[in-house]
């Protein structure tokens, strides 16, 4: 190799995002300088995005949680492309959430679209049929000019890709905060379904087996996207890296899905991996290092969209809609026939070898000769300094207790309107109406319900529920508790449908790991999640870390997003959100509101622009009792509706429960009406039931040791009446709630 003979040739390691010691380590591993192709591979695979070098030490701790869910062991866990949960009757579900934050700021439509595309391929690569997606979005202030650029593009991208794939979008979030202005968050979740025996994993084995690259041809888009975009902070003077963002082709992905599922069914796939960040570099090194042999690849056999691409570019390209499979030689012909049926281009680009080297040739020259493990797994691991920031004490001391409160019933009425009309609480149908929620015909509940519910088995009614949540304001006040509160909220949202929460995926969005206060936030959030998951019995199946989310020096609010998956034995028993019949009784399950839970509340933010104090304490035993109660109530059809209390407290829950079907409510509040309406004490749900079930419900609550208070009744009269305070016509409520987002965009 020329590289061995020319040790002193200067190499652009810094431009490729490598640190000096990382470059030195590569030279040490190879015993020579890397070739330019090897340098390209190492640089993308050792980037923060691909190697998790700043988070690895913390993420390892998730292993403490084990693999046991309330419904049995995980079939695959952290380390695979997505975790797989046994849901019974031979069915398994795989789900994962992943970020595509930085590309979505540079090019909102394509960034968001390819975020959906990437997570869908992860799910597909497990052997599953993707069946639904969700999106959790964070933007700067709704009225900021750049939000008007970023938001419509991202929403159109999520919809454009997911709709064209035929995946119902069943839920998610849209949240606004100034810290996301120059760094929106796009966290996309995909869920897939498979039979146990269909599980596929990413590994290359069997000398002589062929490596097949199939799907789209390789082009110049997204070159270095992972290392350049995901691991760098945007400068204040704005983006100038447009060519690094990938361009999506959802039609090709749809063909890839159907083609891949047919390949699985034909039994011609030994190992499989999708090509996402770091493209061929990632797929070849990960497949080879997870297997028991080496791999030889000829880059001349890679179909190219642009024949002028250099071998480094071919290795780094993040062209979308590509997969790599390991196929026995005798099955290659059948493999190619199935690809031809779906008009999917496929090429044998290499084979599995004995030994332990990954060698890659291009135009007769050996351009890569490495131990694949050093590329895929031996990347740097950083124990980044972490320090509790000094400002946190002042922030925690500034509680909401001193803020002015509404003084009269009339003030309270206006306060409620301001809260429900604030951008974070307002109607999100401007966003969600751009997503197909019906396709595939198994969507039993979708946004704005507490959780999306999908039917998995048409015969038995077996189904799943999914919710994503994160209140980053709480995480800012206390990342440990904030992560636990996100976990509890997602758990409760799933439980509200009657499903049993079983496992989570997470997307940990944070600022720069080189900032010790961010590392402290990250460590605390991971600790909070681990303890919370232990208490709830829901393991982490996998997920994603996104660092460097900031503009200039300002880090985003720590945003440890939790995606919770639950199982429901018969989707016909699901409990919807929203009052269902006039005359039904209304109950608040869980404790009365606690005045301290006004700190970090929507009220403090929407009315006073205030964030300070301590977040409320989660109560895991209560959450579990509440979930168990809802499962019983679901199976016995005791409730006509259930809605979790979270952002905006009881006020928001009442408003949404009334507006869902246009039914009024008359309620009497315990204690201070203001505190009862706006404090955000966790572990609570608003439910309704036919009056004939009142005694059964109250008995169930006593048995579960869940506090239960009858607040009033659902009314035919279209108004929300808080007795002794105010009555608010639903027309006015709906007008204020639904006007905010369309008016700004």
């Amino acid at each position: 190799m020329n590289a061995a003979a020319t040790p002193d040739t200067p190499q652009p390691w810094a431009e490729l995002g490598l640190k000096e010691d990382e470059y030195a380590r590569i030279r040490q591993l190879l015993g020579r300088r890397p070739t330019s192709c090897e340098l390209a591979m190492y640089s993308v695979m050792w980037s923060e995005h691909c190697s998790y070098k700043s988070s690895k030490l913390q993420l390892k701790r998730f292993a403490e949680l084990g693999k046991q869910t309330p419904r049995g062991p995980l079939l695959a866990g952290i380390g695979e492309q997505a975790g797989v949960v046994d849901i019974g009757d031979g069915w398994a579900v795989t789900f994962k959430v992943e970020s595509h934050n930085h590309p979505s700021y540079v090019e909102p439509y394509q960034g968001a679209a390819t975020g959906v595309g990437g997570i869908v391929r992860d799910i597909l690569a497990m052997g599953a049929r993707p069946v639904a997606c969700m999106d959790s979005l964070r933007f700067g202030p709704l009225d900021a000019p750049d939000t008007a650029r970023v938001l419509p593009g991202i929403v159109a991208g999520v919809g454009g890709y997911g709709n064209c794939l035929g995946l119902p979008n069943i839920g998610g979030e849209t949240v606004f905060h100034p810290s996301y202005l120059g760094n929106p968050l796009v966290n996309a979740l995909c869920v897939g379904v498979l039979r146990h025996e269909d599980l596929h994993l990413a590994f290359a084995t069997g000398e002589g087996n062929k490596v097949v690259l199939y799907g789209a041809a390789t082009g110049g888009d997204g070159i270095g996207g992972a290392s350049i975009l995901a691991s760098e902070t945007f400068d204040a003077d704005g983006p100038a890296k447009r060519p690094s963002v990938q361009v999506g082709d959802p039609f090709m992905e749809k063909l890839l899905i159907e083609c891949t599922l047919e390949l699985f069914a034909a039994g011609v796939v030994i190992g499989i991996q999708d090509l996402g960040a770091a493209g061929i570099s990632c797929a070849t090194s990960e497949l080879a290092s997870a297997g028991d042999g080496g791999m030889r690849v000829n880059l001349d056999l890679v179909p190219l969209r642009d024949p002028t691409l250099t071998p480094e570019e071919i290795l780094m390209s993040e062209s979308q809609e590509r997969m790599a499979a390991v196929v026995a030689p005798e099955n290659v012909e059948r493999f190619m026939e199935i690809c031809a049926k779906w008009d999917v281009q496929a090429s044998v680009i290499g084979e599995v070898t004995d030994g332990d080297r990954l060698v890659i040739d291009w135009r007769g020259e050996r351009v890569v000769d490495v131990d694949p493990r050093t590329v895929a797994h031996d990347g740097p691991v950083y124990d980044r300094p972490s320090e509790r920031p000094e400002w946190i004490d002042a922030l925690n001391a500034a509680s909401a207790a001193a803020l002015a409160r509404p003084a009269s019933g009339e003030d309270l009425r206006e306060t409620l309107l301001r809260v429900v009309a604030s951008p974070n609480q307002a109607d999100k149908s401007w966003v969600t109406d751009q997503y197909d929620r019906y396709v595939r015909g198994n969507t039993v509940l979708a946004q704005p319900e507490d959780a999306g519910v999908l039917r998995i088995d048409e015969g038995s009614g077996l189904g799943i529920a999914l919710a994503t949540d994160c209140n980053a304001r709480f995480a800012m006040l206390d990342p440990f508790l904030g992560a636990q509160l996100a976990l509890c909220e997602a758990y409760r949202n799933v439980a509200a449908t009657g499903a049993e929460p079983v496992a989570i995926t997470d997307c940990l969005n944070f600022g720069s790991p080189e900032d010790p206060s961010v590392m402290w936030q990250f460590e605390r959030a991971v600790s909070g999640l681990i303890e919370g998951c232990k208490a709830l019995g829901t393991p982490v199946t996998g997920g994603n870390v996104s660092f460097y989310n900031r503009t200039g020096e300002e880090n985003i609010l720590p945003t440890p997003l939790v995606g919770m998956m639950g199982v429901i034995d018969d989707v016909a028993d699901r409990i919807p959100m929203g009052f269902a019949a006039a005359g039904d009784g209304i109950w608040l399950l869980g404790p009365d509101a606690d005045e301290a839970a006004l700190s970090g509340s929507v009220w403090a933010e929407a009315v006073h622009g205030h964030l300070g104090g301590r977040p409320p304490q989660p109560d895991f035993a209560l959450e579990k009792a509440l979930a168990g109660l809802l499962q019983t109530a679901s199976k016995t059809r005791l409730l006509t509706s259930a809605h979790d209390l979270s952002d905006g407290g009881l006020a928001q829950a009442l408003a949404e429960s009334c507006l869902r079907r246009g039914l009024g409510a008359g309620v009497e509040l315990p204690g201070d009406a203001f505190v009862a309406l706006f404090a955000e004490t966790p572990g609570r749900m608003l439910v309704s039931a036919d009056p004939s079930n009142a005694e059964a419900l109250e008995a169930l609550c006593r048995a579960a040791a869940v506090p239960c208070r009858r607040l009033g009744a659902v009314t035919e009269a279209p108004e929300l009446e808080i007795q002794g305070q105010f009555a608010l016509p639903l027309d006015e409520l709906r007008q204020r709630w639904s006007a905010t987002i369309p008016a700004a965009l």
């Binding site: 064209c164 035929g166 039609f251």
Partner: protein
């Protein structure tokens, strides 16, 4: 009653349409775009989706699929054909129905439970409705804005060939609030809303989609 459902590359609602046929008492028969055989089915559904990615005009490539030659030929001989969303676009491109679907006037994709009025019961797919019946059917499209020249629109209106009209909200800017149209013989109907999503009480906002298939069954039996 055997009802064929065509899958083009990029078709998405084929499984839904097959399920709807089954739930409504028919025998679903999957049909493949690259085959020129309709396997002797009694009716054909062209389901929704994004055939060929809709990267050219919606439906413009699918109309050249081998299966479409046979659909056009047998439709001319009276075979009942229902085009839903992308299927409606394919029928317009294939000139089995007049007019064209262009980008929604709001310029975004829209998904909603849409109220419609059934404007004619004199077609193979609407006979089970009452005249003027108001129904709710799922709507989801980015290019559902029905347009035709004034003479064509007048002809459709005068001949009672407007099959469905949007109520309350015109979701995409369609001329005269037209949601669906029929050919002169009444055997070919196309509409943007998705009746196959309104056959199952667990997943649909109504069960009004069932009458599309009941109409077919009634017509074929009668």
């Amino acid at each position: 009653m055997r009802v064929g459902v065509v899958t083009f590359p990029g078709t998405l609602d084929d499984t839904d349409a097959l399920r709807a046929v089954r739930l409504c008492g028919g025998q679903p028969v999957p049909l493949w775009h690259a085959s020129d055989s309709l396997h002797g089915v009694d009716a054909v559904v062209l389901p929704g989706g994004f055939s060929y990615g809709d990267y050219l005009r919606c439906g413009a490539i699918a109309r050249f699929a081998p299966v479409m030659g046979e659909v056009v030929r047998q439709a001319g001989a009276g075979l009942p054909v229902l085009g839903i969303c992308n299927g409606f676009q394919v029928l317009c491109e294939a000139h089995l129905l007049p007019g064209a679907l262009i980008r929604n006037d709001r310029r975004t994709f829209v998904c909603r439970d849409q109220r419609l009025r059934v404007e004619t019961v004199d077609t193979a797919w609407t006979g089970a409705f009452a005249p003027g019946e108001e129904i709710v059917i799922a709507l989801k499209n980015g290019e559902g804005n029905y347009q035709a020249d004034a003479a064509t629109v007048k002809q459709l209106e005068d001949a009672g060939r407007v099959a469905f009209r949007y109520l309350d909200v015109n979701p995409n800017g369609s001329v005269n609030d037209i949601a669906g149209v029929a050919n002169a013989a009444g055997n070919v109907v196309g509409l943007m809303p998705h009746p196959e999503h309104n056959v199952d009480p667990l997943t649909g906002a109504s069960l009004d989609g069932r009458k599309f298939f009941a109409s077919l069954l009634g017509q074929l039996v009668g």
